[in-house]
Symmetry: C2
Subunit: 224 residues, 2 copies
DNA sequence: GGAAAAGTTGACCATTCGGTCAGTCCCGGT
DNA sequence: ACCGGGACTGACCGAATGGTCAACTTTTCC
């Protein structure tokens, strides 16, 4: 909940309302953002059509452009929201406590994220595959710092013999990519497994195995 | 090397030539396919522009449409070529021999693939994230069969206590996604690690760690 | 050498796209 | 009742897009 950078309607008034509704068309804004996330996540920025976003939101195209002056503005807002969701979920990895439990929790948290917001995960993946033209700065800024910081924790664990000696950054890549697979490659997994009730079945089945495999792969031990 | 389904020029004559050049414009065809792979892998089908593909191939747009009647035809050819590359690389996992070595080889083979053909990997990822509208049949057909078949091998290993008890399909997902990360998420990895000579540094550094982590994660043992 | 086939090109067309805009609707305040 | 402004809409515009085509050049084959 942040990231506004546009035009006429925004979080400007909001003070003068009766007190109950938080902004009149604020609902519309979120409707549009939700629809845009969906379309952008499937087609990418260039492939997405404003009118399709509008249709998906159930409103005319003109109305979309009323809230977001340009397609690019809308994309920025959407992807920045997705990114902040992603970064928030990175959260804290408990420095103390035992590594195994810490990572187990972290993995589960990320797994839940891509289960609950698969479109967000896909949009993020799309952006990165496209070369991250929009969020590159965020990646080499905030994310990089986060990795360096948390990487130190990994290094400490490794020195204590509680974690396999893997370049911390690559350990993160491995965790991230594995947890996101089930959202990003849903189509492939669905095709291969022939799953019907995808959301429920797969996640429940896979979660356990995957977490264990990761913990094992990273050689995480319980602090004694 | 197959997959032609278009228009006038194709692998029609080829017999009558002097013997040296295998078709005159056959080079062009491949030029175009290479360029198309690049553009499609960054923008996806809808986002890619025929003219951009043409520019990337260094020829006028009209010439591209001469070899491939429509954008869709070109995309089909390109992605089917990528898919066959992918499926070929699946190759055989040695049924006998020790599991650890078998998977180690398999992972290394896939890792090499995404190092040598990162655009192919990205294009495949894009297609799947978009919902695999074109290759869905292939995935639920050939790929699914392959997984079921090779999954049996995994199950046998598991019964012999040579592999952790993970749903075989998910074991494959894990292997695939980890090996593809370095191609698909290159932008992110580059941003986070600040790597300059990406292609060389990262792959050399990561390969070892990743392979070990996977082998460990899948609980693979050497047959004794 | 010459004609047919294959290859190449820029001009051109219909459609679609992102974005603008004038005008309408709906609301609370006075 | 009336006003003013935010919310909304469909018609519209210029630019870009996928695709066609007729003219032209090159290659192939007898």
């Amino acid at each position: 909940m942040e990231a506004s950078q546009d035009h006429h309607p925004s979080t400007s008034s909001r003070i003068g309302t009766t007190g109950s509704s938080t902004g009149v068309g604020e609902r519309q804004r979120e409707r549009i953002i939700r629809a845009a996330t969906l379309v952008f996540s499937r087609k990418g920025y260039d492939g997405a059509r404003v009118e399709e976003i509008a249709r998906s939101a159930g409103i005319p195209k003109g109305n979309v452009l009323y809230y977001f002056k340009t397609k690019k503005t809308l994309y920025r807002v959407v992807i920045e929201q997705v990114l902040s969701l992603w970064l928030d979920a990175l959260g804290n990895i408990a420095v103390d406590g035992n590594p195994e439990e810490a990572i187990r929790q972290y993995v589960n948290r990320k797994l839940a994220l891509s289960r609950n917001y698969p479109e967000a995960s896909r949009l993020f993946a799309m952006e990165v595959i496209s070369g991250a033209p929009v969020i590159n700065d965020h990646l080499s800024g905030e994310l990089r710092l986060w990795v360096e910081e948390k990487g130190e924790v990994f290094r400490k664990w490794q020195q204590d013999g509680l974690m396999a000696k893997i370049d911390p950054a690559h350990a993160f890549f491995m965790i991230w990519v594995v947890t996101q697979t089930y959202a990003d490659f849903e189509a492939q997994i669905q095709a291969v497994t022939g799953a019907k009730g995808y959301a429920q079945e797969i996640y429940t089945d896979a979660t356990g195995d995957v977490v264990e495999a990761l913990v094992r792969g990273l050689g995480l031990k319980r602090d004694t």
